[in-house]
């Protein structure tokens, strides 16, 4: 494949991915709103995070659990926004710039922070759920999955790749000032 054909292919893939990123972001935001208003959906979401919603949950607890889910949702949407920006940049042929490096680094920070935030909020959610329970039945759930660890490692790697990109761009820019 010639470099030009490869470049065209990358642009097409980037265009498709930018649309897919927006669709995923909208679906996730919609799912977030659904989980926030529907208690059974919230119960299912919490169960997947290792927290069992016991019996009836009051409005305050419900609101607290939803609020605890907001940082994780924010990180996902921020990550998707950066991904969307990157795909749009690749689509327009801008493959090396300081801003691209910064966006990759931002995605890395989001991916690294996500498992930390979800572990903490999962733990806090378990406290909220079992708050006021009979003595001896309260519990704290600390859930760490292999996916979380892989996500954190990927995030750390992306931070380094983004940093390398920023440095490489600066070197390329400096090189352009040599004749």
């Amino acid at each position: 494949m010639t470099p030009l054909a490869q470049s065209e292919r990358i642009r097409r893939i980037a265009a498709t991915m930018s649309v897919a990123t927006i669709v995923v972001a909208v679906l996730l935001a919609g799912a977030g709103v659904y989980v926030a208003v529907d208690l059974s959906a919230l119960s299912t979401a919490l169960r997947s995070a290792g927290v069992e919603l016991a019996g009836t949950t009051g409005a305050v607890a419900h609101a607290l659990i939803v609020a605890l889910g907001l940082p994780a949702m924010g990180l996902i949407l921020w990550s998707l926004w950066n991904a969307f920006w990157l795909f749009r940049a690749y689509q327009s042929g801008d493959v090396v710039s300081v801003e691209i490096g910064r966006r990759i680094r931002a995605m890395g920070i989001a991916l690294l922070a996500f498992p930390v935030v979800t572990t903490l909020t999962g733990m806090l959610s378990s406290i909220v759920v079992s708050w006021g329970a009979a003595e001896g039945s309260g519990r704290i759930v600390v859930s760490v999955s292999s996916e979380s660890v892989i996500m954190a490692i990927t995030g750390a790697m992306l931070i380094l790749v983004g940093w390398s990109m920023v440095e490489a761009t600066r070197i390329a820019e400096e090189n352009r000032q040599f004749v």
Binding site: E174, Q177, F178, V179
Partner: protein
């Protein structure tokens, strides 16, 4: 500026235009102009070598250090 580019002086002595120099050393006329005005961060050795070859001069004829 501590390093002064005397390319315009050498060009004038050789009675050569920037355009001809640019063509013979294989860089753009805009870059020759930037080099003449000293508005570049640096000169690659291969560019300097070609300039010296075309203008039959030494690097010291083109670049000069002056105390500020």
């Amino acid at each position: 500026m501590a390093i002064v580019v005397n390319l315009d002086v050498v060009l004038a002595r050789r009675k050569m235009r920037s355009k001809e120099l640019a063509e013979r050393i294989g860089i753009t006329e805009a870059n020759v102009s930037l080099l003449k005005s000293g508005k570049v961060k640096g000169v690659r050795f291969d560019t300097l070598e070609r300039i010296c070859e075309v203008l039959d001069c030494q690097p010291g004829d083109i670049l000069e250090w002056r105390r500020d």
